[in-house]
Symmetry: C2
Subunit: 229 residues, 2 copies
């Protein structure tokens, strides 16, 4: 039993390291969303270009997470439950990487906005981004704590984000109708809002995995919502 206990402990240690790596990825992704929004609001094109380039670091962290999962499985030969946890960590790392891609997409759009003119409703988007960042933050806390209730609470916040998106979408349409000059910038902001809404979907997706891993039960599928367009 000694050696079995030893193996178990080594697996838990490795899995703990893997979770820490995924937390690092999460912090990176959160910071990227915030910085992308700052670049957008301040039309900071130079910083936006840097942010797009920095995304490769998140890709590398994901590749590192994958390497570690493969190593962990090959070395520790975990049994069914542990194996599922390792696979779940791999999937979550993939989702965090995609959240980073959305931040990158937002940064790419900065140069599409007019430099001088005030663009509405640019003031609403950072508020929407705060909800999205908060969801990413809390769902990764839930992941590390293996806390199903916290995961579930994150899912519930996705409705607020969807409502925010819908409201911004409608507002943007009215700006476009009002003045054809707004069509280009409004379209850019529409894609930004959509990216933020997708980040919320991905956070929800992680929450469902965390909930399932912790309880063995599936969260009820959310009602399919129509997406504003």
């Amino acid at each position: 039993m000694q050696s079995h206990g030893h193996t178990l402990k080594a697996f838990d240690q490795d899995l703990g390291d893997l979770r820490a790596l995924i937390m690092t990825m999460g912090s990176f992704a959160e910071a990227a969303i915030e910085e992308a929004m700052r670049c957008l609001v301040e039309r900071d094109e130079a910083a936006a270009v840097q942010l797009v380039e920095a995304d490769v670091q998140l890709d590398e962290l994901e590749a590192e997470a994958e390497r570690r999962v493969v190593e962990l499985i090959a070395l520790r030969a975990p049994m069914a439950d542990d194996l599922r946890e390792a696979i779940a960590a791999l999937k979550i790392a993939g989702v965090v990487e995609r959240i980073g891609d959305y931040a990158k997409n937002i940064a790419r759009r900065v140069r599409r906005l007019p430099k001088k003119r005030h663009v509405e409703p640019l003031s609403l988007l950072p508020e929407m981004a705060k909800i999205a960042v908060g969801m990413v933050h809390d769902v990764l806390d839930a992941f590390v704590e293996r806390n199903p209730e916290k995961a579930k609470a994150v899912c519930q916040r996705d409705d607020a984000l969807d409502d925010f998106y819908e409201s911004i979408f409608r507002t943007l349409l009215t700006y476009m109708v009002e003045n054809p000059q707004n069509i280009g910038p409004s379209t850019t902001l529409l894609f930004v809002a959509k990216n933020l809404e997708r980040i919320g979907d991905h956070a929800t997706n992680i929450a469902e995995m965390v909930y399932f891993a912790a309880t063995g039960e599936r969260l009820a599928e959310p009602q399919p919502r129509d997406e504003g367009a």
Copy 2:
């Protein structure tokens, strides 16, 4: 050596079954994209609703693929290379499921289009969809054949798809500027075009995994392209 040979064969058999399952998912996703485009062009709202509901089948196939990967690893305890192949199959199943989500998103937009009025450039979108479906089809062939050259060729077609998107994007903007009545429907089509472009990105993503699995080398990262908005 007999038993080692036996184990190898069993692993290959299981992996073959897993690949067949992923091909089934691919066929499902391809058909879903085509049907979503038909619904869009013909404003077939009833069929679009059915298509959205049918997507759950693809989710179930992905869950089945994941179960099989976990089983395969737990039962056959594959060595590093085989393990990586099993993990790659898991990741590819996840990407195919996301491709299905894009088809679902397109289907969801059908009811946003005006029923009677002709909407431009609705005639271009099915052509764009054909390229996307062709990429999905060929990359899954490359996956099953473990054919790196075919995978590479798929990546190269993504440029054509991106150009198509850019062209449709610009066309849609001109329609919106021309007549405010076009803004709503054009925005809907803009999201459809974006979904098709993203399907191409995902096919490229699979192609990179297939190429890496077959050659051990990374395909050169494509130049970051600006996305039309």
